[in-house]
Amino acid sequence: MEMSIVVRTTTWIMVPLMLLFGAYIILTGHLNPGGGFQGGVILGSVSLLYFVAFGLKEGKFSENLASLVEDVSALLLVAVGLLGVVVGKAFFSNFLKESGIFTAGTIPLVNSLIGLKVGVAFVVLFYTFFKYMERRA
């Protein structure tokens, strides 16, 4: 079910800004207030706004890809922890700190993976709710 043209136009204006803001919150989580969960929720709320404004067009969106991204990012999160063991430190140790690649070692990496996972999880959640609602209607 689509909403009015005002809502749809505003959505097209807001969606890129919200995506940018979510990415900013995630990527500077180790410097400013923010982090993976917060930015991921912002990214996920983009999908909520989109589904509310445009309605769910079945077949235009595949939840399989979203599920795949969520699973892969969760596995990569564990892989980052295991890499700490491979390097020779403890599980989930901050092994990139001395390398100087990132300012805060593995923290931006972990934040990005968590942000991706949380954002995509919310996309799947909202999609499932909307699909259920449209079927009940």
Partner: protein
């Protein structure tokens, strides 16, 4: 009057008081762990944000547990609400034809 509930209440209050007085610091006073976080988090992790240093370095196990909780929640929602109802619909229609029943409205409401 039974003695067991009274005893349980007294024990709860006493245990709570012991834990409260032993763990709870004075107002404006940092516990040992908190002062270590505040003083050493930058040299330990290189992160300017102490909260991010705690969440993504010191307590990363807790964070991955939260991610697992979210994953379990999504799994439950998808299993219960996201099923493919198409097969159920076909089955109900087949049964309707078999027993000569009248198809009434939305099959999900039955």
């Amino acid at each position: 009057m039974r003695i067991a509930p009274v005893l349980a209440g007294i024990l709860t209050v006493v245990w709570g008081g012991i834990f409260y007085t032993s763990v709870h610091p004075e107002y404006g006073e940092l516990t040992k762990v908190a002062s270590v976080y505040l003083e050493q988090s930058f040299t330990d992790t290189g992160s300017l944000n102490v909260v991010a240093a705690i969440l993504a370095d010191y307590r990363l196990y807790d964070t991955i547990g939260e991610a697992t909780v979210l994953f379990a929640a999504i799994l439950g929602v998808t299993l219960i609400l996201g099923r493919n109802h198409h097969r159920t619909e076909q089955k109900i229609k087949q049964l309707d034809e078999l027993y000569g029943g009248e198809p009434r409205g939305n099959v999900y409401r039955r």
